[in-house]
Amino acid sequence: MLYFTRWKALGIVATALIVCLLAVPNFFPTETVKNWPVWAQRHLVLGLDLQGGSHILLEVDTNDVRKQRLDAVLDDVRRTLRDAKVGYSGLVKRNDGVEVRIRENFDFGQALSKLRDLSQPLGGVLAGGGQRTLEVTGDSGSRLVRLTVTEPARIERVRQVVEQAIPIIEKRINALGLVEPTIQRQGIDRILVQVPGLGDPQRLLDLLKNTAKLEFRLVDVSMTAQDAVASRPPADSEVLYENHGGQKTPVLVQKQVLVSGDELTDAQAGFDQRTSEPIVSFKFNSAGARKFAQVTQENVGRPFAIILDSGGEGGPEVISAPVIREPILGGSGQISGNFTVETANNLAILLRSGALPAKLTPVEQRVVGAGLGQDSIDKGKLASYAGGALVVLFMFATYGLFGLFANLAVAINVAMIFGILSLLNATLTLPGIAGIVLTVGIAVDSNVLIYERIREEVRHGRSAIAAIDAGFSRALATILDSNITTFIAAAVLFFIGTGPVRGFAVTLGIGIITTLFTAFTLTRLIVATWVRWVRPKTVPI
């Protein structure tokens, strides 16, 4: 137990040294470290609870996705039947599907087979498995055809929505000038957004949950908006509201969308040259520009509405409804609608980054201000120093020289934890600091186990060297057993935990590994070296 070959000793010291050195980049400012070789740049990342920032979990609104899907199926059915010149009645959405009644008996067979063609194999040809997007059933007696969106198709759609939303969210956050955001999918229908150090969390949240669907539609002038509210709007028009500083005025707009925000290539906030009001100027792509030119040419003198659906509870909102004075041929224009500088900026960001494919709902939000984060770091440091000092003193008082050995081993242990955390680019959270402090307890325990065993062996009358040898060999088995149980607890915490709890599990788990390493090699090596030099007759503990 106390004999090490030179190579083995060298290997142990080298391992400990290298792992400790991995922690070095943490002690230099980020600017300095950036000039180092890439392999030397790995460092700890402070968790959001320590450096301040926002943690937002967004969930795709599956109801919205379903509604969109059913709308699309409804359109498909209408088009298919119209193209096939089949008469129908009662085309409605019902539960998870669409129902339509074919008018004539002799059309039923043809209609059913045409509608069956709407159902696609899911996930293209490669997916196989025979799953399809729609389940189409027909009842020849009542001539009712029912198209149901299948569960796998629904899940697949939600998955796609998440995939499409992530780059859009990324663009929006980048537009705010925030550094190093983390955006990742969680489960099927969730997106986790983590943004360190943010001035205005509310603005971030507003930008994230805004679907930002922009539409240009014509205003319906066949009746006044007030009349439409009082009676009923025409079939292909609807009443939306325009917000004038808290006051809502109704606008009757056509349902048909002339040009949508998808066709924008750019949007910038600026000021109107005449009124110096904040505005948002935009540019269409060529297809959008062509459409916009055609529409404005045909409707000079009529008002059109610029409509934004933010995904809020109020539904789509009319931003402004100006009159078309002359055809707009250049494919660019500007929106003015009671903006403040900030709302104009926000809208420009939203339009530039594109519309979200579906509504996103924040289901969890945790924001920590930078002040609190710094406080936590200071307190964590203070607690660590105080705890460390107390333990060091106590160990020295209990075991004297061997206590110093133990303290040396524990110090190296902690340095190694930081080294490994840096290597993993791990995130250090406040519970993570607690985990390190507790590791100090565990690390000390391994030494206590060894030393107590040595004391016992001495009492049983063994010679100094024999006692030390037996103490190590007996205690190490116990150390292994007891640490593995704690490690299991840490592993479970890691897999079930989120955020801060995970940070705790990581440091605790790594701490156990380094503790085992130091107990089995380093502490033994230190004591063995001391034994070789001093050749003790008695054990000083």
Binding site: V437, E452, G497
Partner: protein, 315 residues
């Protein structure tokens, strides 16, 4: 230099006699804890019941709790709790889960922000919706059971099944008493509490395993020693280690408790109770004596040869 000896070298304390006292006491306390859990309840944090938590710091350096309470009470947000948190200027605001799903929670934050305005700095805002909180709770509970199960399987492989069972009883005893403690003190029960419970589990087992290791060693070495004496010797010879280790762990925890700040206060307080008070007690007074009832070493003297043979086969 004279070294500190907390436990005298030749301690011969009759721990086993205490099982006639410790078992009934533990049973009573466990029943009491379960009773407390059901009739007094835990102070579930927003992680598990959803809702909003806002930590503010008054810019003037002194927060007027009474005024804030009236302001926020008039918002129609249902149950709003205010609590001094750390310094004079720091206030923790808890808003109960709002009816009306995820959007309504956001609206509540907005209302509070508007009501308090610029007089305070927002240090922390946490909003947990109803669905996430439900998931977190079930995940935490599952995690606890998975951990217990995994540790038991490990112990079953390393020791005899009686040891695993004894450890499990001790485990459940620890968890139950700690939950009782959390109920009495009404400490926030949140995600970090689950972390605390799991750590307590790990530590308590750590302790139990150290003593079990010794018992196993003694069982192999002293085949004629009566079981009670054997357990007593095992506990006594590891007692010094148990106490020294717990002093060091308590020193670490004490530092965290005193200087670690409010954010981890409930975590460290729970750990202090679970690790230092319950964990140590359990391994000495419950986990070890229970081995007698579980039949460890029964018929050892008669079947000494077989045990010896097995022990040899193992080494």
């Amino acid at each position: 230099m004279r070294l500190l000896r907390i436990v005298p070298d030749e301690t011969k304390f009759d721990f086993m006699r205490f099982r006639r006292i410790s078992f009934p006491i533990s049973a009573m306390l466990s029943v009491l804890a379960v009773f407390l859990y059901f009739y007094h309840g835990l102070n579930f944090g927003i992680d598990f019941v959803g809702g909003t938590l806002i930590e503010v710091q008054a810019k003037s350096g002194h927060a007027d709790l009474a005024t804030m309470r009236t302001t926020l009470g008039g918002l129609g947000l249902g149950d709003v709790q205010l609590q001094q948190f750390g310094g004079e200027a720091d206030v923790l605001i808890r808003v109960a889960q709002q009816p009306g799903g995820e959007q309504a929670q956001q609206a509540a934050v907005e209302k509070v922000r508007q009501a308090l305005g610029d007089a305070v700095e927002y240090r922390r805002i946490e909003v947990v919706g109803p669905r996430v909180s439900g998931e977190l709770l079930s995940m935490g509970t599952v995690g606890l059971f998975v951990a217990i199960g995994a540790i038991l399987i490990y112990l079953w492989f390393r020791f005899e099944w009686q040891f695993a069972l004894g450890a499990m009883v001790a485990n459940i005893h620890d968890i139950v008493l700690t939950i009782g403690f959390m109920s009495v003190t009404q400490i926030d029960f949140d995600l970090t509490s689950i972390a605390a419970l799991l750590t307590i589990l790990g530590y308590s087992l750590n302790d139990t395993v150290v003593i079990y290791d010794r018992i196993r060693e003694m069982l192999r070495r002293y085949k004629k020693l009566p079981m009670t004496d054997l357990l007593n010797v095992s506990i006594n010879s590891t007692l010094s280690r148990s106490i020294i280790t717990h002093v060091t762990v308590s020193l670490s925890l004490l530092a965290l408790l005193l200087f670690g700040g409010r954010a981890i206060h409930s975590f460290t307080a729970t750990m202090m109770f679970g690790v230092v008070l319950v964990g140590t007690y359990t391994s000495v007074f419950i986990a070890s004596p229970i081995l007698i009832y579980l039949g460890v070493g029964i018929g050892r003297a008669e079947a000494a040869d077989t045990v010896e043979a097995r022990a040899e086969a193992r080494t």
